[in-house]
Amino acid sequence: MNRTPEADFRQALLNPELSAPAGLWAWNGSDPTTRFDVYRNNVIVSLIEALESTFSVVQRLVGEQFFRAMAREYLREHMPNHPVLARFGDSFPGFIAEFEPASSLPYLADTARLEWARVQAYHAMDAGPLSAETLQVALSEPERLPQLRISLHPSAHLLRSQYAAVSLWAAHQDLIPLSQVDPWQPEQALILRPQLEVEVIPLDRATAAFTACLIDGLTLGAAVDETLNTHSDFDLNAALALLLQRQALHVLSY
C-alpha cells in the first residue's frame, strides 16, 4: 500500500507505541522523536480538555481520572474530522453508552447528550420568535390548522431520557441539591437558545412526545392525534403556551 507522509504522521500521533514518522529533523539537531512526543501529547491533551469543557457535568459525575481515561479511549477511534472544535465530540455520548467501565452509571450517556445539545444550541443560527401577526394569520384560517406545520427554532434540541439527565445537569449548576436527584426517574427537556442564553426547559412526557412529532415534520393535526393516542393526559393548550412562551416555535407553513 502506498502511504503518504500525512498518513504516517497521523498514525503516529494516535499511537504512542509507534515511533516518530520518518524524515523528521529538528533545526538544532536535537532528537526529533522527543519533540514529536511533545507534539503528540499536546494534541491529545488539548482534545481531552475540549471534551472536558463540553462534557463538564459528565466529568464531575465520574471524576477527572476516569473521565480522562475514558476520553483517551474515545480518541483512539475518534479524532476530529471537522476543523471546528466545537463540533468535536458528537459521537462521545454514544461512545459512553457503550463504554463498559461506565455501565454502572447508565444515565451518563444522556447527561452527555444534554451537554452536547447545549453546545450545539449555543452555536446554532440566530432566529427570532414567531410573531403575533403570523399566528393571527394562521388563526384566521382555522379550517387549515390541521394541515399546519410548525417548525422549531434552529437551536432546538429535544432530549428524552429514561433517566434524570436534566436534574443531574441542573444539580451540577447548583440549581437543585444533588442529594435530591433520583437518577432513575425518566426526564425530558427542550434545549433552546431563543436569545443569547442557552436554556434547558423541562417537559412532561406528553409535551415531549408532541414536540418530537413537530420536529419530525408532522402536521399540527397529526401531531396532536399521535400524541393523544399515546398520552391521554396530553394538554395541548399548555404545551402550545409553553412552546410559544419560551420562543421555541419558529416558522409556520402548510
Binding site: N42, S46, F66, L85, Y122, S131, L139, V224, L240, L244
Partner: protein, 98 residues
C-alpha cells in the same frame, strides 16, 4: 387504542388560548439582539494545552500507553438511589477494555 382525531375547531381554540396565555411579544424587532461571541466557549479554541502552558509543549503528559484502571469516582456517589443496593450511586472497579 381508539384513534383520536382532533378537529380544526379544537385546534383553533387551543392555539387561541395558548397565544393569550403566552402573551407574545408583538414582534421579533422588540427583542434586543446584540450578540457578542468571545470567540468560542471556553476550551473550544485551537491552542489549549492547559493553564500555565503554551503550545510549546509543557502540558502534563496524558497519553501514555493504554493500560489504565479507573473507577467512576465523581459526584455519582452523592446521589440518593433507592433502587441501588448501596442507597447511592455505585462505584465499580473495572478492567482494561482494550
Amino acid at each position: 387504542m381508539a384513534k383520536t382525531t382532533t378537529t380544526a375547531a379544537a385546534l383553533a381554540l387551543a392555539l387561541g388560548t395558548a397565544i393569550s396565555v403566552a402573551s407574545l411579544p408583538a414582534s421579533a424587532d422588540e427583542m434586543k439582539m446584540e450578540k457578542c461571541y468571545g470567540v468560542a466557549l471556553k476550551g473550544q479554541n485551537d491552542c489549549k494545552a492547559g493553564p500555565g502552558t503554551t503550545c510549546a509543549g509543557t502540558a502534563k503528559k496524558d497519553y501514555q500507553g493504554n493500560a489504565f484502571k479507573a473507577v467512576p469516582a465523581g459526584t455519582c456517589t452523592q446521589m440518593e438511589s433507592p433502587t441501588s443496593p448501596t442507597g447511592h450511586g455505585q462505584l465499580e472497579a473495572f478492567e482494561e477494555t482494550m
